[in-house]
């Protein structure tokens, strides 16, 4: 026993080093584990409160560019409302009585501020100042005034962590606007303004500058949210599919206020999916 103790004391440095290396490796391999994320991520209570305090100062940065983008978005929305009103007036003139048009809203939004954000890692995350107490749950989509931002991954009581579009592990279902062609949006690192739309069918027709929007195939994002615009086609050895280079519409380096999307039908749709699995 004494020999063992002597041995341990003599080589304690090596043991300490080995233990810390082991701990680091466990942290590295468990990074996608939800329970580990709750404790060891920017959404935990301590780091969340530090980021929230700091954002009371940093929240004022980039206000000029954000304001300009909001004004642009406001102008285009006002235009759209005007067009829709005109269309509605025309239709009402043709059909005087409409039968039970359901005007129920499917998606609800929670406003949140970005308190921490990164764009330089291969796996980037965003921290928001809203959590489960504000109705945020993992799996909800996050958008800003320009386009999609990410998906909520961990939700604490007052803060939540979002997997950014700028995360190599994440794919988003997107389509070319006003066409039936669907693809998968994937960010490949380095440039925070550029992502790739993969698995676009070979027969799909597109033009440079075409808008890419969300496909609406999941409960995370409704159809038609801006993602970006087509820059060019990337050459691939696989001839069956295109890969399109997409300029992302959101400025990830200047994220400030975002909206978290709540799908009111989510529980219903999820229960249907579970039923499918059981019958298999």
């Amino acid at each position: 026993m004494r020999n063992l103790l002597n041995f341990l004391i003599r080589y304690s440095t090596w043991f300490v080093f080995a233990i810390y290396v082991l701990l680091s490796c466990i942290l590295l391999t468990q990074r996608d584990d939800y329970h580990a994320s709750v404790m060891f991520s920017s959404a935990n209570a301590v780091s969340g409160s530090v980021f929230r305090s700091a954002s009371t100062v940093t929240g004022y940065f980039n206000l000029l560019s954000i304001n300009r983008r909001l004004q642009e978005s406001n102008a285009s929305l006002e235009n759209e409302i005007l067009n829709l009103r005109n269309q509605l007036a025309e239709y009402k003139a043709i059909v005087s009585d409409t039968v039970d048009v359901r005007s129920e809203r499917r998606f609800d939004y929670v406003l949140a501020s970005v308190v921490n954000n990164s764009t330089r890692h291969p796996k980037n995350y965003i921290t928001l100042n809203r959590g489960t107490e504000d109705g945020i749950q993992p799996g909800m989509g996050v958008v800003d005034q320009s386009g999609i931002v990410g998906i909520v991954n961990v939700a604490g009581p007052h803060t939540s962590r979002v997997i950014s579009v700028l995360n190599e592990t994440q794919h988003f279902s997107v389509k070319l606007k006003d066409t039936p062609y669907v693809g998968s949006l994937h960010w490949k690192g380095m440039d925070p303004n550029v992502a790739y739309m993969e698995e676009v069918p070979r027969h799909a027709k597109y033009n440079i500058g075409d808008t890419v929007v969300t496909s609406g195939f999941s409960t995370t994002f409704p159809y038609g949210i801006n993602v970006g615009t087509v820059m060019n086609r990337v050459k691939l050895s696989d001839d069956n599919f295109y890969v399109l280079k997409v300029k992302l519409s959101s400025d990830f380096k200047a994220l400030s206020t975002v909206r978290v999307i709540k799908d009111i039908y989510k529980a219903e749709l999820d229960s249907l999916t579970k039923f499918d699995i059981i019958t298999d």
């Binding site: 300490v16 810390y20 490796c25 590295l28 468990q30 991520s41």
Partner: protein, 174 residues
């Protein structure tokens, strides 16, 4: 408690906060990231008990990891940096009684030796950090670019920090 210990106690939280609140958001030309928090490991006295050195380095990296959402990356890189700190130091400075418990600063080592020590330490940390984070041969170009850019910016930043802080020479060297 000597002057250098007080400086180190203050530096630990200050460097962590500076890193996570400011320097984590700075990326120059898309491939230069400044790592200010490793100054704490660089400034720890040579000859410090290895167990304490490893524990402090791991804790430092671990806290930065939690705030940066990069679990394990900075912890492991800081740990490797602390393990190679003494060999790197003695690669540039002669091993004798004078340097046994020295605090590495510009004043105690001279700007030439300190620059070599600081540059090697910055390069080792940046290489470890990006290699662990990307962890694929496909990203070797990115790793090389990021390591080069970040080493230069980290070196300049840490050299400036060392000039600003009071020297720890009086505490250890004779």
């Amino acid at each position: 408690m000597n002057k250098n210990s007080i400086i180190l106690i203050v530096l630990f939280p200050v460097l962590v906060l500076l890193q996570v609140l400011i320097f984590n958001h700075i990326i120059l030309f898309n491939f230069a990231v400044p790592f200010i928090f490793i100054y704490f490991i660089i400034r720890l006295p040579i000859g410090l008990n290895k167990n304490i050195l490893f524990t402090l380095s791991f804790l430092l990296g671990f806290i930065v990891d939690i705030f940066s959402d990069t679990p394990g990356v900075n912890s492991l890189s800081s740990l490797i940096l602390s393990a190679v700190k003494t060999p790197i130091f003695y690669a540039y400075v002669p091993r004798d009684d004078k340097t046994k418990f020295i605090v590495p600063t510009i004043e105690s080592l001279g700007w030439q030796n300190y620059s070599k020590y600081l540059l090697t330490m910055s390069a080792v940390f940046c290489f470890c950090c990006f290699s662990i984070e990307f962890f694929s041969y496909a990203s070797i170009k990115n790793i090389a670019l990021l390591t080069l850019g970040s080493t230069i910016i980290t070196f300049c930043l840490l050299y400036g920090v060392d000039c600003l802080l009071p020297s720890g020479k009086s505490a250890y060297s004779s």
